[in-house]
Symmetry: C2
């Protein structure tokens, strides 16, 4: 078999994933969608979500077109074209993920009437559609762009175009993560602060004017934003590894295409794994989901062995791939430990809630900070293991790339785990609003609680893989710089010494990107939630009969408020990483820019894990109290836990997860800048 | 004049500072100490504080003796001896600072009866005693150790002993910061949660069983811990610069001793500056304090010029010193902006409190994250400016050291600003408990509000200078490594390349130190505060008549609880930095250890500023509401603001400030390890 066939195998595997997703969609659409009331609520959420996504994409499109034109003028049309493909696919991933989710929520609520097992089956299939579309579109983009621009006499053209693809995906994912995150969390926080805390009505109560906005938010944030983000994570990681294959191994095709082959194998493994997610007789949802992950992981590894032996002639890189798969599984269990209500961390937060809001928050912050350490040390171990397994030097770094690609190859399954969460969350909302019997809500609540943990797992996975990918992208940057400076006839080689003040300046500036971004994202939610609170208070005050259920709240007003705020507040944080890279690159030069690339990942992995896990832990500490601990619902401890949950919302669903695309954008923009630096500075 | 005289000039200047402090003390002790009730409360606080400090020092002494013996066995007796001197002086600084503070609190309350101006005068003089003792003892230690171990034929002996001095100071300061921080904040948080939030009684109300513990805490944390910390900041910064002078300039005495000369000049400037802190006719306390800083800064610079010209023959390093002084002033204004109630950040938190606890916390976190950026960027600018002013290369790095030394030379004045805060805080407590008229409390409250900001300023200053010092210490480490590896006949030179997986691993591990440490410190406060809450609730329940004022609460029980918890919980976080350095150095080797040094500062500066400033901003947002904004005291917004204040307490007074000695300990231990590494690994 010819190595040239690999991109076509990639296309084949990605089409398989897409077809599987379409099959599941048609199966899902065949399920009953429940009563008329359920359908009408579902439709309201669906329309609200679509309306927002359309406006968000319009705003992003403006940025996208400007960037595409800039890329065309500054670089070449191939990169600009690939950028558009990446941006479009990333957006498409988000659109499909959200579509399926909003169309499945009522069906899951209906399925939950038949019990936990069937409820899990339908909701997990809905999640799988998003997972398969993510990996399918990503691999299709990678293979397609490579095929389109591959020229045996000029391999660099195709490889460089791929960087454009990654940039397109990342930039759109970044905006989608922030915009969606601000929308969903300001609606959620606003709804909770007035509804639960002030008026004392339950979550998703139809009397709460912000409840539709809240449910719409789950879709635009947790579905659309997340799907776009995982698409870019996959794409950029693969591009990083492929580019390194090109730079290190002198353009040898097998090293460039090996990551694509791994992706293709893993798609098949993930599809098989999906069928192993079932409860059987047990009620342990988490272990049912983990079964699917284990099967996919083992099958993928079995498939990786022969493909490695065949493509590369020896199996060194296979061991690097094992590192990546093991890292995925370990990160899953670590995050589970810190965010599930079965273990010490979450329970310590619940316990601290007894002495008030203050100790709940302090303990949550402490748990969040601690939770950032084990995944990071695991990534450190992964980096060192892959590097030495790969034999050190350039090959060692390539092995890190392969570990990260192997990690990402599990993406289909991991995204499925994640996306099933918001679907059940919405299903619970519909059950509440449509007055379904409490048994239904119990089923959706049980699914949703696990969903909180799986959502945290995906974020940990994304940021962990980002750390590996960033190391690879930094190596790409250093090698590309070497090539470009040699090409430009520059005498001095760039050595990134840790003690060099420019490099140090870059490290600190990289940290600033993460902190500025997190501050803006959290602040935006605080401000927008404040507006929602004021609007809900106004409606309670001015529309008589809301609390008695005789008058309908004006749901549209709240949707409108969060839409406007989200679109307005997403632009600045979205541009920060791009602008910082341009400024540092042109003013302080390539050494400082290298520092930025590493600074953003070192600070980023901690801040992302801290924010993601603290939020997940607070949420589940509240759920743990709601199960009757420390006085249960309505107790003082519960009130404190609700505060914690509210604080965790923007951390875990706005600022925290968006750090991942921030890291990618910074790295990819730096890569694209390399040729420009040599025309302008030094 | 002979350069050899410089250490003696250092001794002279330090004795001048100590004499000035003694003079101020005797003046203070001559002030009237108020009514019998005031004196008895003051005495209770004093005894509680002394009892705790004695126990804390006993615990620390155990660690200290073990380390001293280890240093003697592993290195030499000179280093071990200097370590003991540093440890003793650091502890002495804390002891004196606390002593003066506890003896002055009633006197300040009494002085406040005569109005703001006299209240400021007395409280600022009390703060000045601590400031002068800090710089005096530090310069005395540096000069004394140098004189004791200086041998013209073996300059390295004295210089290396100085590293031991720095280590002694840092290690004790680290424990004092955490132990004192846990004590003060668990008492404070516990007292507030039951007293203010549950029982609705004011701060420092004598009916609150935790109120004496709270006031004791202010002294052991904010006075003793802070003074020890600033002592080590000064000492380690000076040692870093002196060592670099030795390593870079081939042992030329003038470069080794130049930092001592700067310190001596600045002491004189600070003493003069103290006399410029007076209100005159105005009520602007902050600007009265800033006047003192400006005068000291300008006089110091005027003095630096001739001494530079004389010692070094050219004035290049004078410009580096300007960078340091400018950095001090800028950091002061930046921190003021983020933590004073006169500006947007604090007011935005107060505003967000209207929609509840959740938005108060979210906004505070957002403000805290943002606040970490300007000081860091300023430090970046300082690093680059000093480096290029110094001519780049080794001289450039030495210039960074001089900038940091110039920054620290202002230490006497800055510590005075800081220490006056807790004195007024205590004075307010005494006024409350001794039923003094409300005008007195108004005066102490006005002084205390500014104290919140000046406390934040000192922390920003300490961590900012730590960033500069860490760069210098890293350069020391690299140069020491080069020397040692050449001496050991090692062939390969250590190059700390940013892309090297070992260096990267170190960077991530450095971040882990900061996060683990912060998590433990905050968690300890959460747990200990929980115990205080339970105890206070028990007393309210079981001792009838407390709330009516007919029965006296058992104050001692609360003091006992926090004492035990603080001593128990300080050990692990205190050992983390030391143990991490040893493990990384021996297992992963010097390259990874270099990464740790930089990782700890890059992540540390952000986490320190974030935690310090968020806490300060929350505190003053509460005070801003208490002035009548958004419903004032007792409103829902005020309750939310109290929660924010409570959350901010451990961040700003336990975890945040202790990051500074953590950074120092990590760097100094690494320096001490260099010779050991070559016997054991590689």
């Amino acid at each position: 078999m010819d190595v040239n066939l690999i991109p076509w195998i990639g296309v084949g595997a990605s089409l398989l994933a897409i077809l599987f997703a379409l099959y599941l969609t048609s199966w899902l659409m065949g399920r009953p969608a429940g009563t008329e009331k359920m359908q009408s609520i579902s439709k309201a959420v669906q329309e609200g979500a679509m309306a927002y996504l359309a406006r968000q994409y319009k705003t992003i499109a403006v940025v996208g077109v400007i960037v595409a034109v800039a890329l065309f003028l500054a670089l070449d049309w191939q990169t600009a074209f690939a950028f558009v493909v990446g941006a479009f696919f990333s957006g498409l991933c988000g659109f499909i993920g959200m579509s399926v989710s909003t169309r499945s929520n009522a069906r899951v609520a209906e399925a939950a009437k038949q019990g936990l097992s069937y409820g899990l089956n339908v909701s997990f299939k809905a999640g799988t559609v998003t997972g398969m579309m993510c990996v399918g579109l990503a691999l299709l983009g990678l293979s397609g762009v490579f095929i389109a621009f591959y020229d045996p006499n000029n391999v660099s053209q195709a490889v460089h175009a791929l960087v454009g693809l990654g940039f397109g995906g990342s930039l759109i994912a970044l905006f989608a993560r922030i915009g969606g995150g601000i929308f969903t969390k300001s609606a959620d926080v606003g709804a909770d602060l007035v509804g639960k805390v002030e008026a004392g009505i339950p979550e998703d109560d139809p009397r709460n004017p912000a409840t539709i906005a809240d449910n719409v938010g789950d879709n635009v944030g947790d579905c659309a934003g997340m799907a776009a983000d995982l698409f870019e994570t996959y794409a950029v990681t693969a591009v990083g590894a492929m580019l390194l294959g090109y730079l290190i191994f002198g353009g040898a095709l097998e090293y460039i295409l090996y990551p694509v082959a791994l992706g293709a194998v893993a798609i098949v493994a993930s599809i098989i794994g999906v069928f192993f997610v079932r409860l059987g007789g047990s009620t342990n949802i988490m272990s049912a989901l983990y079964k699917g992950v284990w099967v996919s992981a083992i099958l993928a590894l079995i498939g990786f062995y022969p493909i490695t032996a065949w493509m590369l002639g020896d199996v060194t890189m296979f061991f690097a791939a094992i590192v990546g798969v093991v890292a995925t599984v370990l990160i899953m269990y670590i995050t589970d430990y810190y965010t599930s209500k079965n273990y010490r961390p979450v329970r310590s937060i619940a316990h601290a809630s007894q002495s008030g809001h203050g100790t709940n928050i302090i303990t949550g912050l402490s748990v969040g900070m601690e939770s950032a350490i084990p995944p990071t040390l695991m990534i450190v171990a992964g980096i060192l293991a892959a590097y030495y397994v790969g034999g050190g030097g350039g090959e060692g770094v390539y092995a890190i790339g392969i570990a990260s690609m192997a990690m990402l190859s599990m993406c289909g399954m991991i995204v499925a785990l994640d996306s099933y969460g918001p679907v059940t969350d919405n299903a619970g909302g519909i059950a509440e609003m449509a007055d379904l019997p409490p048994e239904v809500r119990n089923v959706t609540d049980a699914l949703d609680a696990v969903g909180n943990t799986t959502k945290a797992v995906t974020k940990g996975y994304a940021i962990g893989s980002a750390a590996l990918a960033a190391i690879v992208l930094f190596a790409d940057y250093v090698n590309a710089l070497k090539k470009a400076s040699a090409g430009a006839g520059a005498a001095a080689e760039y050595v990134f010494k840790l003690g060099d003040p420019l490099v140090l300046a870059g490290l600190f500036i990289g940290g600033a990107v993460v902190f500025m971004f997190s501050s803006l994202a959290n602040g935006a939610v605080g401000r927008a939630a404040f507006s929602v609170v004021e609007e809900v208070r106004r409606q309670f005050r001015e529309i008589p009969g809301i609390m008695e259920g005789t008058a309908k709240p004006e749901y549209g007003r709240c949707v409108d408020i969060v839409t406007k705020r989200a679109l307005k507040e997403m632009v600045v944080p979205g541009l920060i990483p791009v602008v910082t890279v341009l400024l540092v690159g042109f003013i302080l030069g390539p050494l400082a820019l290298g520092g930025v690339l590493i600074g953003v990942i070192v600070v980023g992995i901690y801040m992302a894990c801290f924010q993601n896990n603290a939020g997940g832990a607070w949420d589940n500490a509240k759920k743990w109290i709601e199960e009757g601990m420390y006085g249960g619902k309505g107790s003082e401890a519960h009130k404190a836990a609700v505060t914690g949950d509210t604080v965790g919302d923007p951390l875990k669903d706005t600022a925290g997860p968006a750090v991942n695309p921030v890291i990618k954008v910074v790295n990819v923009v730096a890569l694209l800048m390399v040729p420009l630096i040599f025309h302008i500075v030094r």
